[in-house]
Symmetry: C2
Subunit: 273 residues, 2 copies
């Protein structure tokens, strides 16, 4: 099944636009996990199992696993989601981007090695750098458009002929790069006005929205500016605000409570009670 | 010692601007290595040992190791270079780029886990995404400016106020991002005119130039347009044309011959015989 259909099914069946991001910072793991053989996996597994009925996707961030020399624990985490929660798509947050022959290897990393349903990529190198990802027609290719960080302005706001770079990326994504109907965009929750402009450009294309929670993005503004007419179209991702809601032995329960609150807030903003 | 000083020493002591890129494609490894416990490492070690006296740097491309689930062999390769050829800097080609908290993890991956002297990064997310790398003042941060692929034009040629995006990146790199004097740029050998423009913008900043060899970049044009007044300033990288110069049991000898020829061609073009 194509990624976007899997996502739409998850939106409906789970009644949720919430995505939980798995950013397991070793310095912030609950202390009692330190003795585990695979502490990062154990942490992720507990978060996944505690929130799986509340989300439309999980988004592991590969940098945290790579910095900890824990690619095996990333594999274990994704395998666990596949096995125990097979209807929940997995987005590998990797922001890869390289020339064609190397991009082919990164596509293998994401889609074959890790078996991700979708991966985030950078558009800086242009279409041929995205092609090896796009060729996997059943997987999602989530292109950075307007990122959630303050420095997003440095490059993405460059203006040409009355249009900003992030607007041009949105146009290319919708018109030139989407032959397989498997392109999505990343737009940070911290930029609601830009989210509105991008939504107007890309029609119903799903948008991954990081930056609610720890980064300060406002849920109501995200829904008002980014939702499609049917009240979906968004993958609203929170990582730290969920993962580290509690620091003690009941961190999973605290994460569930935080995820539940956020899911309900999102649903309230889109008219579901 | 700062990366740029290490690089300058290597340029002088080795009398070479050549960098050998380590892109170990499992499908192209010599057949007799298939039985080795660590075939990718064995391949890289043989290439490294056969070319170490001819180069100013080695540049392993992490995507090839990640696709093959062989991060351990990347660690072994870099450790081997450190131990046997300690004067040759190691550039980790990773093209990372993410928001600040995640960029910090990518900086750890490159500089702590892999102990790279320098890493390639993407500028799309702006200064705060580069800062965790830049803060490692003794390491090199090599920012994508004008890449070697055909699709480079799609985004990097966007024009604003008479300047193209790659020119603006070069300006920012030279003026705004280089407080620690540890920024370099990537400019593809396939775009000599753009290389000339970028050299004019950045003064003596070292430029990593991929794209000679398999991608078709012309060595004479690279030197004519990219070298600094003293005939250095460039890290001219070749991967496939060296690695796969011979496919049989003497692949290392064939790689050495190809590297020697390319080093000499580069030196000839800069007036060294």
């Amino acid at each position: 099944m194509k990624f976007i259909h899997r996502l739409q099914q998850a939106w409906t069946a789970q009644r949720s636009l919430l995505c939980v991001g798995l950013d397991p910072d070793p310095a912030r793991l609950p202390r009692h996990l330190a003795a585990a053989t695979h502490p990062i996996f154990e942490f992720g597994r507990a978060i996944v199992d505690a929130t799986a009925d509340l989300v439309c996707a999980f988004k592991p961030q590969i940098a945290y696993y790579a910095a900890a020399r824990a690619e095996d624990q990333l594999e274990m985490t994704i395998a666990h989601i596949r096995q125990r929660h097979p209807s929940i798509p997995v987005i590998l947050d990797a922001k890869r981007g390289d020339v064609g022959s190397t991009a082919e290897m990164y596509a293998r990393e994401a889609f074959e090695r890790y078996q991700a349903d979708a991966v985030t990529v950078s558009p800086y190198l242009g279409l041929d750098s995205l092609q090896p990802f796009l060729d996997h027609a059943d997987r999602g290719v989530i292109v950075l458009c307007r990122t959630s960080n303050p420095g997003a302005r440095d490059v993405q706001d460059m203006e040409s002929g009355g249009k900003k770079l992030y607007q041009l990326i949105a146009e290319k994504a919708a018109r030139d790069w989407n032959a397989n109907a498997n392109v999505l965009l990343v737009v940070g929750a911290t930029y609601p006005q830009e989210l509105r402009e991008i939504r107007a450009i890309v029609g119903d294309m799903p948008i991954l929205v990081p930056g609610v929670g720890a980064q300060g993005g406002d849920v109501a503004a995200v829904l008002a500016n980014g939702a499609t007419a049917d009240g979906t179209g968004l993958i609203i991702s929170s990582s730290r605000a969920v993962l580290y809601a509690g620091g003690g032995s009941d961190y999973a329960g605290a994460a569930r409570a935080a995820a539940l609150k956020l899911r309900d807030e999102i649903n309230h903003c889109r008219g579901l009670s």
